[in-house]
């Protein structure tokens, strides 16, 4: 085979591999799904819960009655969380980890 042809084929192979790797990387970034979480906390006891954000929520808003003690349930925090995806199963398969929210010492 002509050496020039070998060089051309090698360059083409490199370009195709590079484009394929770049496309794979950008696809991996697209998979991450984000969800806005609203954290609710009771004014009187240590009850807390997390749910998806609803329009109209804001930090400090009264969000109903505490199911544990009947006290005031307030929106304590609102933030964006990344949801981990199981590869090959598509977005939205798992939910954010239910970590216990820390108590803010008054």
């Amino acid at each position: 085979m002509d050496p020039m042809m070998i060089v051309i084929l090698a360059v083409l192979a490199f370009i195709v591999t590079y484009m394929a790797v770049s496309a794979m990387k950008s696809r991996q970034e697209l998979i991450k799904k984000k969800v806005i979480v609203t954290q609710l906390k009771c004014n009187s006891c240590d009850y807390s819960e997390r749910r998806e954000f609803k329009e109209g929520d804001y930090v400090g808003k009264e969000a109903g009655e505490c199911p544990k003690c009947g006290g005031k349930l307030l929106v304590d925090a609102i933030y964006l969380e990344e949801v981990e995806d199981i590869p090959g199963f598509g977005p939205g398969v798992s939910m954010p980890k239910q970590s216990k929210p820390p108590r803010i010492q008054k």
């Binding site: 109209g56 929520d57 804001y58 930090v59």
Partner: protein, 364 residues
């Protein structure tokens, strides 16, 4: 006849001719110009799409508020309400002049929004102001990019094209972040820049707000056995308030009874830093053009009050979009640091003023 020698001489001839063409003509510059201009054209198309998307969002939000002609309201805002900086060759009273110009501009915008959204609540109007400003900024960025592009083509300035091409990657990314941020303002979620007000919200406990300056409130509470005045903008609408004026008023009332002023704000992180890292230092942690910051510094200097700064690190994109979990974790760390400063550096009978600087959207 040796075939390889023919090929070698052809290649060599081509190389020498090519070298003459490249070194003694402007073909390389034209090639660079063409290369960079085709790249810039694609980026400008992206910027235009982002600008159009932002306008659609504003029109959608205004329509939800039953505005009669949202497109007209938007077009009346874009390209208007600019502010010309005060003369700095003569810096005497430049801060007073700057404050006057900034507040005049803010009042003009407020009146424009009030006239066009007469039935909206104050929170909705504040959020609408923010959306209009973002859309106007994106339109301006697009115009500037097109200006330099057309300038480069007009004068065949490939260096200008190269500089523009190298900058545009970052500019488009930032423009996309601004466009995404509009969703936060439409929904009313707290943004990264709200880290300071969120720290203030958690510190104030069950205290009731007292309005001290325009769209700015303070709370009187107790932390670690010390009296603390907590200042923040009045939420949950999009506003930064006048924290400088608020601190000035509090310090002038309390005078030398104030032992410490602590400002808490979001700060831009360096590329190697992690979002949510918290650092503390000295000074007024506030990113305004000057009037509010200098008011805090002057109040502290007048009575010799130590001025602490606590900052929560994040990127530009994270500061303007919905607050991420990492920033929220940073807020929790910042609260502990503020409490530690109060406990270790403020005497029992001393008073601390804690100022949560930032946009208070989504935070009451």
């Amino acid at each position: 006849m040796d075939g390889s020698n023919d090929w070698t001489s052809i290649v060599l001839t081509l190389l020498i001719l090519g070298s003459f063409l490249l070194n003694f003509t402007d073909i390389p510059q034209k090639m660079q110009l063409w290369r960079y201009s085709s790249y810039i054209r694609k980026k400008i198309i992206q910027l235009t799409e982002i600008e159009d998307e932002s306008k659609r969002k504003v029109i959608k939000y205004l329509s939800r508020l039953n505005v009669e002609n949202p497109r007209k309201v938007l077009e009346g805002f874009i390209d208007n309400f600019f502010m010309i900086s005060p003369v700095d060759k003569e810096p005497t009273d430049i801060i007073r002049r700057m404050r006057h110009l900034i507040r005049t501009k803010d009042d003009l915008i407020r009146k424009y929004v009030e006239e066009n959204l007469p039935n909206a609540t104050s929170v909705q109007r504040q959020n609408a102001e923010a959306l209009l400003e973002i859309s106007s900024t994106l339109a301006y960025v697009n115009k500037v990019a097109k200006h330099y592009f057309q300038l480069g083509l007009k004068y065949n300035n490939w260096v200008l094209m190269m500089q523009l091409a190298l900058e545009l990657q970052q500019v488009v990314k930032l423009a996309k972040a601004y466009d995404d941020a509009m969703d936060s303002f439409m929904k009313g979620t707290p943004i990264g820049d709200g880290a300071g007000p969120l720290v203030a919200y958690y510190l104030k406990g069950s205290a009731e707000p007292v309005e001290i300056a325009k769209e700015t409130v303070y709370y009187v509470t107790e932390i670690e056995g010390r009296k603390v005045y907590v200042v923040k903008a009045k939420g949950p609408g999009s506003t930064v308030g006048w924290p400088g004026e608020a601190v000035e008023k509090i310090i002038n009332d309390l005078r030398d009874r104030v032992s410490r002023i602590i400002t808490v704000d979001a700060a831009l992180k360096l590329e190697s830093e992690k979002t949510g890292e918290v650092a503390y230092g000295v000074g007024a942690a506030i990113g305004d053009p000057g009037p509010e910051k200098i008011a805090i510094e002057r109040a502290a200097t007048k009575y010799g009050i130590p001025l602490d700064a606590v900052v929560i690190k994040m990127s530009n994109e994270e500061a303007i979009n919905t607050m991420t979990k990492q920033v929220f974790e940073g807020v929790k760390k910042a609260i502990e640091i503020v409490k530690k400063i109060i406990k270790e550096k403020v005497p029992r009978d001393g008073i601390t003023v804690v100022v949560g600087i930032g946009n208070t959207i989504g935070i009451t």
